[in-house]
Structures are given as C-alpha cells and as structure tokens.
Symmetry: C2
Subunit: 355 residues, 2 copies
C-alpha cells in the first residue's frame, strides 16, 4: 500500500526504526529529558520563543482544538470562526458544546477567503479568531498574515489549527502573529496518530491561566505545568512521543526550510502532472499538504478502485463532496516516482484524457 492520504501517511525509515520496540517506563528523568528536548526543538521550528508554552496531549488534533478553545475562552467571550469546510465546522461545534458564542465566516465550497470577508465583522468585538490554516477538507491555505493583521488591529487572539500545515507550509508563530498553534503527530510529522500538540504565546498562556477550566483530561494548564519538568499528567502515548523526538531531531538537522521545500516540490510535481492530464484542481490557494481533484461523479469509487486494484490510497472526501472530490496528499515519505505510479493508475481508472 502506498498512502497519498493526509494521516496516517507514509512514515520515514528513522521513525519506523524507532517505533515498535518495547516501550520504556515514562516517569523517569530519561523520559523527561527527551520531552524537554522535543519541546525545545519544536518551538525553534515554529519560530516560538522561550516564553512560549507547550502541551503534549494524547489525543487526535480535535482533542487539541477542544483543549485550546475550552481552555482559553468561556461563555462570556465571543469568537470569530472561519468555516471553510469540515474542520472549520468542527471549531464551531466545539464552541457550541462549550456554550461559547461565535460568529462564523462561512465560505461556500470553492470560494477563496479574502480580507473583505472579515470586514463585516470589523465593528463587532471578539476575543479570538479560530482558523484552520490549511482547511484540510478542501486543501485551501488561508492567508495567515492577513488574518493576523485583522486580529492584531482588533486585539483578538489568533488560534491556528496547523494540523496539516505544519512542515508543509511555511509557519513562524511570531512573525505570522499566531498566538495558539495546534498540530498533530500523523500529518507532516509522519508519525503514528495519537499525539497532538498545543503551543501558546505568553499572552495566550496568561489568558489560559485566568480562564476557568471545564475539562479534566484535556486541561491545558495541567499539561503545560507538568511539561515544565518534561512530564504529562496522565499516561501518554509513550511510543508516539519517542517517534516525535526522533522526527523532530531529524527535521531540525535537515533544516525546516528544506523539509517544507520538499513538500512544496512534491505538490508542484503532482499539480503539474495533474494539469497536463486535464484533472480539475480548485482555484483557491492550496496548502502544499494536499491537492484536491474535482470529478463530476464517482470519486469514492475511484478511491476504492485505486486502493483495491493498485494498492494506492488517496484520501476520499466526506459529506457532499464524497463523489465529487478526491484529495491527494504530499506529506509523508513520498517521492516523484510515487506520483508517476499514481498517474499511471489514474490514467487507467479515469480513462484517457481525464487521468
């Protein structure tokens, strides 16, 4: 099986080598040292400073989204949410469950987010903006600088889900004005799913401390406090945290710019080949993580035929787009040759001129 998915993805040899062995006990100095090293590398990769705080949660990215939203905001706040697909909707649903009022900037499928979409909200007061940097369900990469300028001008906290954007698209928390960044192990980090991470600026952390926590397991305060000594409040996914340390050290020594450039190259290679085949790609700005392919019908069937007939797993879509969109991932251990194989299979499955 070759995975062109957006998580789990093809894993790298150094991670595969580090994973799967007998796990160690974790209430030890050795484990704490590893966790502190991971935090320090991660913050450097994200352009975060020594004042930033980090929480490692044993949960999917959604758990980290909830931990951030419910940890930082309450029913007396109002939030602005960019809802450009399934993951934006998830932010809105999290607000609903926790009784946090929110206004949504809803993008119909295919529409690009522009500064003017926010202007209608210019005169209303918001505590923060929730956005998925890459709305993974459509692949749209939002203009984070435009969003952070809007936030700064209104004194709003910017909470960015960078779950699929981290390592795929350039990110610098301080330069981009991101106050809270969320990411997850199974995207471009290319690890086993099970660990998600929240990094908070000093201002966001101070807000967290002031806000009353209504979550126990996903309590960011406790996670951050324990991480100060390299520990977690509850038994974490030890194996995935070991993989994380291996991956972060590898990325750090390769240089994050090279890692992002590699994904960008793969995305460009695929998009060029797809265009040559007349495959339709949406016109909005795309993350390097994933390319959506639009079909008139039968997209889910194409997913099944590629998987069962060729051992090639692209990412199917849910809901309304199930039969109209496939998503081809560029994160994980993939090469241009992998896309050549995929193109050959697409040519056969979609027929001449369309694949």
């Amino acid at each position: 099986m070759r995975l062109f998915t957006v998580g789990p993805v093809m894993m790298f040899p150094e991670v595969l080598e580090a994973s799967g062995g007998q796990l160690p006990y974790f209430r030890t100095e050795e484990f704490s040292g590893m966790m502190k090293e991971s935090e320090s590398i991660l913050k450097r990769l994200l352009g975060a400073g020594p004042d930033h705080r980090t929480a490692f949660l044993t949960a999917s990215g959604t758990g980290a989204m909830e931990a951030a939203v419910a940890g930082l905001f309450s029913s007396s706040d109002r939030l602005l949410v960019v809802v450009g697909g399934g993951f934006g909707r998830r932010f809105a649903e999290i607000c609903d469950v926790h009784g946090i009022p929110h206004d949504d900037v809803v993008l119909p499928f295919g529409k690009r987010l522009e500064a003017s979409d926010l202007e209608v909200c210019r005169d209303k007061e918001y505590a923060g903006l929730l956005v998925n940097m890459d709305e993974t369900s459509t692949g749209q990469l939002y203009d984070i600088r435009m969003l952070s300028e809007f936030c700064r001008s209104k004194g709003m906290l910017l909470v960015a889900d960078a779950i699929s954007a981290f390592l795929a698209d350039p990110i610098d928390m301080r330069k981009d004005g991101i106050d809270v960044l969320i990411t997850s192990s199974q995207k471009a980090l290319s690890l086993s799913p099970g660990i998600s991470i929240v990094v908070l600026s000093r201002g966001a952390y101070e807000r967290l401390l002031r806000n009353e926590s209504r979550l126990y397991y996903l309590d960011l305060k406790r996670h951050i406090k324990d991480q100060e000594r390299g520990q977690t409040p509850f038994t974490p996914a030890v194996g995935t945290l070991i993989e994380l340390n291996v991956a972060l050290r590898a990325i750090d020594s390769a240089g994050i710019d090279d890692v992002v450039a590699r994904t960008a190259r793969l995305a460009a290679y695929f998009r060029k080949g797809a265009a040559e085949r007349g495959l339709r790609i949406p016109g909005y700005p795309l993350s390097n993580a994933v390319t959506p392919i639009l079909l008139d019908s039968g997209a889910y069937d194409v997913f099944l035929r590629l998987k069962d007939g060729y051992g090639l797993v692209v990412t199917p879509s849910g809901g309304d787009l199930r039969d109209r969109m496939l998503r081809v991932g560029h994160i994980g251990n993939l090469s241009e040759e992998d896309y050549d194989v995929l193109f050959e299979a697409l040519d056969e499955v979609l027929g001449p001129g369309k694949g």
Copy 2:
C-alpha cells in the same frame, strides 16, 4: 530494562511483531472489519452481551473515566465515589470539574473497603457509584459483588474502572453487575498506551442517550455510534488499535481464564518470595496486577537504584507514599525468572533480611 511497572509493561512477542510497521489508512472496510472483530472479542472476554456498546477512545484511562462520568451524569445527579487512593480521587475531581455532586467513601491508607463503609450512604439517593476495581495506587482489589449488590438494591448504576484489573482479576460484566466498564491499552493488555475503552450495558447506554453531552472529543455517543460501523469520529491511534486486535485474538485463543490465572500465579510467586524475605505487604485484598511493598523510608531511592544499577523498573509511588511504598507489577510479559532476578537485586539494595 525489565519493567515491573503498571503501564507501559513488558510487551508480548506477537504484539511487538505487529507494532512499529507502516500504518494503514483507516477510513476503509478493512479497518472497520478489524474494529468490529475487536469489539466482539472484547465483549465476549468481559461477559458482555450483544446489547452492550463499546467506545474506543484515543486517550489515557483518565480520558475514558471522564468520558463515562460526564457522558452519563449531570449536575442534577448525585454520585457515590470510593476514594481509596489517587485514582478514586481522580473520579472525584472529574465530578468536581463537571459540577456533578458527589459523596466520597474515603478509605485511609491501609483500610480495607467493607460493606459497612457503604451503609452510612444507604438512605441517600445516588444515580451511580464510581469505583476503581483495583485502586492501582494502593493495589487494593475491592469486592465488586458487594458493591454491585449495594448498587442493585438502590437502583444505582455501577461504573467500574477496570483499567488495571481487566485480565489480571476475574471480571464478568453481567455476573458482577457492572454497568459501565473502563479499561486501557497499556495495562494487562500489554500494548502501547494511547487507547482506552468504555463498555456500556444497555441500561447505561440508554442513560447516555438521554444525558446532554458537554464533551466534544470524548463524546461517548459519537464514538459508540461510529463504532457500530467499526469507525471512530476522529483519527484514532491506529497503531495501538492494530496491536489491540492482535492481543485480543491471542487472549481469546489462549482463553481468558488462563490469562488471568497466569497473572495470579506470578503475583502469588512474588508475594511468597517477598514474605520469605520479610518484605511488608499491606493486609487488604490485593489485585493480581500489582503488589505494594511497604518500606520505612527511602522507597523512591530504591526505585532509582533498581533502575539505574540493575535495569529493573518497579513502580514508584506518588504523594505521601513516595518514600514508603514501591509497587511491583505482575502484568505484561513477565516470568517467575524475572522475579528471581528482582529478588536478587532487592537483597542487595535493601540489605540482608529485608530484601
């Protein structure tokens, strides 16, 4: 390193073999089939019926405890909590965070839970009882039949954390009158940490459906609904779920009685040797999962010396018991020979007559 811990523990060869490889994509029929098989074996092992429902959460056991408590109860209920150590306290704290009123049956360290401890609560109304079958922090195994008779006589739901008891002590959800059972991957299942499981009786599930959910990521309703087709609402710890399937099939073919008997034999072997050496063991009923060893002082230092000098990792204690208690685990891939090695090291570290 040889682990005498209570999670992660020594893993079995068939699990190690299944873990650590490239992970598959999980939104597939193949993965769904595996998850449905896991549920069906698990329910058989637990003495649960076809009407029972199962949620597989990507979280530690604490996440599953919170999912169960906040999913089933609300601020208009009152709960009874057995607080015999750190994990009982955790149940009480979860109630506090979610505003659920509770009375606690508090056991001072060393006291055995008896039917008379509950009698003071006989005339008060409770929606449910929360108990850690094995209070892992002290190793006390509570009399689950006594507790379930009390619950039945008062129409209370019995929520049992069997995180360390499952596969270590005999459990039969129906015969034992357990309505909600919680367990976790890294205890006697001997897998990587990261997956926890909640199994609900029909009555408990009906209550869950009636109760308004205030959790998003740990929402049991959504997990149970998706598990009906072998899926999870959010990306799960795919690797640990694959390990789980391997382990459940192995346990099922070995027979759960044999698995429990094996742990019981190891516990008896260790306790006999410990008694011969004059090591002090508490007098309350003990789970087969773990044996507490009481020392006058320096327990944490013994933990460090065993780990660093001998590569033998026993479980240290937290809080007040840090220097007075070590816990020696009997779950995971351990043998009598492992305890012989541990005894030899204890003899050296504790000195003659005391180890």
